[in-house]
């Protein structure tokens, strides 16, 4: 599990959520984003949008199974790289 901070000024809205999902679906195992104990499926755009992530929010990223840490770090760099 790795931690990430949302930097995009408009939060994790549709387009950023799409970028996260695009990467998450390449991972074989389960991928979840966790905000304050609320878990969401990182392979679902609606689930991610449902977290209502805003700029400055801290989340945890957990990817199960083979290559999990690699996926977690990729998602962290995507989430922290979106500034729009």
């Amino acid at each position: 599990m790795v931690e990430a901070v949302v930097r995009s000024k408009n939060g994790l809205h549709a387009r950023p959520a799409g970028m996260v999902v695009e990467q998450a679906v390449r991972h074989g195992g389960e991928v979840v984003l966790i905000k304050e104990g609320i878990r969401c499926n990182a392979k679902s755009i609606l689930n991610i949008m449902g977290l209502g992530l805003a700029q400055g929010d801290r989340i945890a990223i957990a990817a199960e199974g083979e290559g999990g840490l690699r996926t977690e770090n990729l998602l962290k760099s995507i989430i922290e790289g979106i500034e729009e």
Partner: protein
């Protein structure tokens, strides 16, 4: 919402036109009452009210994104007519958008409607034109 149905590829936002978020169609609205495109449960309304998601029959997830870059309006011009968790029918009003506010703020009002979990879909046929009775037919796998 009432308006002309056009191919998703005509949306001036690559996230939609390149189908990054899913496949579907877009509406060029002529009025501001945004209705559920399909029966199901509203699973999410984005805090800024510019987009909402519906979980439809067979697990299909439908995203309605009202206008382009409208997240930047931070809710201005949008008013909820329904709440997350609510069951809706096709045609149930979900959001009221003031198209004049979008125009004044320089935001396009074209509204993409996409299936975000396309892995469940075998075929999708869009019926374009001014306010068609059925905008799209979806064949499931």
């Amino acid at each position: 919402m009432e308006g002309e149905v056009v191919p998703i590829t005509e949306v001036p936002d690559q996230a939609f036109s390149e189908k990054m978020l899913g496949d579907g169609y877009a509406v060029k609205p002529v009025d501001g009452t945004v209705k559920a495109p399909v029966a199901g449960r509203i699973v999410q309304i984005f805090p800024t009210n510019h987009a909402f998601g519906i979980l439809a029959e067979k697990g299909l997830e439908i995203l309605v994104h009202i206008g382009i870059d409208t997240v930047e309006l931070k809710g201005e011009g949008f008013r909820r007519l329904a709440e997350p968790g609510q069951e809706v029918q096709a045609g149930t009003p979900v959001m009221e958008v003031d198209l004049e506010v979008l125009r004044l703020r320089g935001k396009e009002s074209i509204t993409p409607v996409v299936v975000t979990n396309m892995h469940l879909v075998k075929g999708l046929k869009v019926h374009g034109g001014p306010t068609p009775e059925v905008a799209a037919e979806i064949e499931l796998k």
